[in-house]
Every structure is written in C-alpha cells, then in structure tokens.
Amino acid sequence: MALKLYDLEVGSRLLLGSALYPSPDILRRAIAASGAEIVTLSLRRETAGGRESAVLVSLIEEAAVRVLPNTAGCHSVKEAVTTAQMARELFDTPWIKLEVVGEEDTLAPDPFGLVEAARILTSDGFQVFPYTTEDLVVAEALLDAGCQVLMPWGAPIGSGRGLNNPYGLRTLRAHFPDIPLIVDAGIGRPSHAAEAMELGYDAVLLNTAVAKAGDPIAMAAAFGKAVEAGRLAFEAEPMEERDMASPSTPLAGLPFSMSEA
C-alpha cells in the first residue's frame, strides 16, 4: 500500500538531503542511485555570484524530484515562519520541513517554538513536516496544530548514531498507527534505516550518512535497498524472537538412531 504525504503518493520511502556532497555531480548521481523522489533543500543568501544555487536548481529540476524546503538553522518562530514563506514563493510548494532549533550541541528541536510555528504555518496553508523528537505529547500537539506528517529524530543531526531510543520510537508508532511517521536525522548506516522501517515507520530521511560516506553514490544505493528491505520485512510479518534454539533442519528421519515406532 503506497505512502501518502499530504497530496503526494510516494513510491520510494527514502527522502534524501542535498547537502555536504563532494560535488554537484555526485549529488546528482546519489539521488539517482537512492531512488529518492523527495529531496530537501534550504534557503540561503546568495554567495559567489549565484553559480552554486543555479547549478543546484537545474540539477534538482533534471532529477525530477519533489522539493522539500527546510528551515534549518532557524532558532525563533519568526525566523522559521518567514523562511517558510520565502520558501513557498521560491519553490512554489506548500511543503515545508519545519526545524526550530532549541539547543546547539544536539540541534534538538524546540518543542514550544515548533508547535507555535506549525500552528501559524498550517493555518496559512502550509503542509508542514515537523522535525521533532519521539515525545508523544509534543507529537499530539503538532497534530492538533494541523500537521499531518511527523518526523521524529533517530539521533542528533549528523551524528550517525542510529536510533537512540527504539522504545520511544516504537511507542510513538503504536500511538499513531495512521499518521505518516518519518525517522529524520541521526541515521548512520543502512541497518539503522532498516531497523526504523521494521519498527513500522513509513519512511526515512537522511543526508550526512550518504554525503559523507567514502562513496556517496554506492551508499545512496545501499540506503535505497535497506529502506525497501525494512519495509518489505514489516509487511511480511517477521518471525517471533525466541530465547532458545529451534532446529531449522527437521529431526524426523535423522540417521543412526532407533525410530520411535
């Protein structure tokens, strides 16, 4: 069953960030290798005569992916809201990945500012993708504020630690069975992404783990496969874990023994 993020039905459940790649060409090929249909971008002041931005824009257009602009680096509600409004005009999309930074060392989201900004933006017609924690109560408040997708972190941005709190993420998933939930940030290796999907998460968003890999293109392909693997497994009902062993090879007909009549 396909995943619907607001108006969009997505095939690939991997969302990819566009930052920190060795070169635009490697970004282009990483996007292709990942199979991602949604790519995040930011807004920044022009630098160096605009070449960089122009190259990026045409690269994204050729990739034919949906753009998810972010408000990365915003610390106040006003900054985040203004950035979202500029993004809507520039990218001609109601989508916004809403980040309101609450703390520098962890880049943890500010739950208070996040909910307030989400309320302002949704009432202004935005379709908000809030970057949040695994906190159930904050999640509830974001849904009340009009968000129809949640993006809890796995671990701090760029840390590559994987899922710091699997219990919290499992609880969040159980509590909101019908809301699209995307693990955003902290993923470092494909096994982390597969684990998130096995927990029942609808998708994974990552950037650094691909961009900073020795071979970003191969790593992009790796994450594409891992996300598919995790989703397939979730839908295929994995076996139950057992504490004791259970022979895979049947014992019936084992040689060298007396048969039980």
């Binding site: 960030g17 566009s18 930052a19 920190l20 790649y21 970004l27 995040t40 971008l41 930011s42 807004l43 920044r44 002041r45 022009e46 605009g50 960089e52 931005s53 990026l56 824009v57 994204i60 602009p69 972010n70 990365a72 006003k78 900054e79 203004t82 409004q85 500029m86 993004a87 005009e89 520039l90 990218f91 941005i157 760029g158 940030a185 950037n207 650094t208």
Partner: protein
C-alpha cells in the same frame, strides 16, 4: 541612505525593494526577499519602499538536509 543587505551595510538611493534588487543585479534572478525579518512577496516589491537602517534579506535555493 544606509541599508543592511544580507548582513552587510550598503549605501544606496533605491526608493523601493524592486529598485534595490535591480541595482544589485537580481532583476532577472529567482530570489525571495524579507525586510526586517518579514517576508515580502515578489508582487509587492515595487510598492515596498525602504528606509534608512532597514535590514533586507535576499535568498536563493541552496543545499539542505
């Protein structure tokens, strides 16, 4: 008058935000703008006049995670 454009001081006589963008060579570029931290949509740039000390941000798409 002196404005702050993208965080740097600028001496200009541009009467409007539109004029400022033209002066800065953004006329035909796809950018988004804010004055004193408040968004100004493209269609309102012509009628948006500037005052000394105004802080203008002009942004473009960039890589992001």
């Amino acid at each position: 008058m002196t404005l702050t454009v993208n965080g740097r001081p600028l001496e200009t006589d541009a009467p409007s935000l539109e004029a400022l963008l033209a002066e800065l060579g953004y006329a035909d570029r796809k950018v988004a703008t804010a004055v004193n931290g408040t968004f100004v949509r493209a269609t309102l740039r012509a009628e948006t006049s500037l005052a000394p000390g105004d802080q203008i941000d002009v942004v473009v798409p960039m890589q992001g995670g």
